[in-house]
Assembly symmetry: C2
Homo-oligomer: 175 residues x 2
């Protein structure tokens, strides 16, 4: 299964594509960052992000898209940009009928480090290790996009296992 | 000049199209509300709004799109939905090369009532009066979308007049 992770932002939008066949395994397909100029019109910025996401979807053909879910942040201006860029990425995926999942920063941290309160450096360290990369991905937005993709691949598998186990209990197969 | 006003929201997204040739005049072209089910996937909701906005752009062919600018609200969840729906509408306009303008709620209120602190009922009353409608537009999101369009038409004209007056002063034409 292949997942595109999106760490949304207007100034820097992190994109990371990861393949995984089972939890504990993951391999890098591509990673990068879309940038739009801070002084550009909001329409041009969102359209630039849209074109970039479309290009990545065309190029890598993922099975699902995982986007960071933002609940609250200190800076309302930052939240707005994150929400706007994320919405454009979600709409790109939905237009193709691709499943979209939102994961909170703490879910992502827990998936790759084991702790929902890990710091950014720890997340980058684990992403580098899990994908067996020669160098730490930069900027942080790129590493976060990869962590989101890994989170989605492994969480999805864990949820599917739990659902299967519960189905087994219900049909008596677990006895 | 024709403007599509968008009062963005995931549950209700107000759309209003207004024509105006000069400040003080305005005529209704169309008004309505896009709705998406609260229990639907965020991807489907944003895609639904995108399809609706595209349909209105195709049908009415506006010269510009005006979207409400949100700075801060008490409820972060509401802000997120507003930002997401607004981003999709902005991207639709930008994809066609249409100019997009953002106006704050107080700019909109000031444009149609003369006061930036007017309440919703007063805005609806003035929209009904300015467009010479037989009935008050409902829901409030529809009235707000019309107020946004009127604000954009009249503010744009006022700004253009000021720019022309300043150019006149600079060239000495005003003496």
């Amino acid at each position: 299964m292949r997942v595109l992770g999106v760490d949304p932002g207007l100034t820097r939008c992190g994109l990371g594509v990861v393949d995984s066949s089972r939890p504990g395994t993951a391999s890098l397909v591509d990673v990068g960052v879309l940038r739009t100029p801070a002084d550009a019109d909001i329409g041009l910025r969102l359209h630039g992000i849209e074109r970039g996401v479309e290009e990545w979807l065309d190029r890598h053909n993922p099975d699902a898209v995982a986007v960071e879910r933002v609940f609250a942040q200190a800076n309302v201006r930052t939240v707005m940009g994150t929400a706007q860029a994320g919405a454009v990425a979600i709409a790109c995926a939905a237009r193709r009928g691709l499943p979209v999942a939102l994961h909170t920063p703490s879910e992502v941290k827990a998936a790759v480090t084991g702790s929902g309160r890990a710091d950014k450096a720890q997340v980058t360290t684990m992403v580098t290790r899990l994908l067996r990369l020669d160098a730490r991905p930069t900027p942080a937005d790129a590493a976060d996009a990869l962590a989101l993709a890994i989170c989605h691949l492994w969480r999805g598998a864990a949820l599917a296992r739990m659902a299967a186990a519960q189905a087994g209990l219900r049909t008596g197969a677990g006895r």
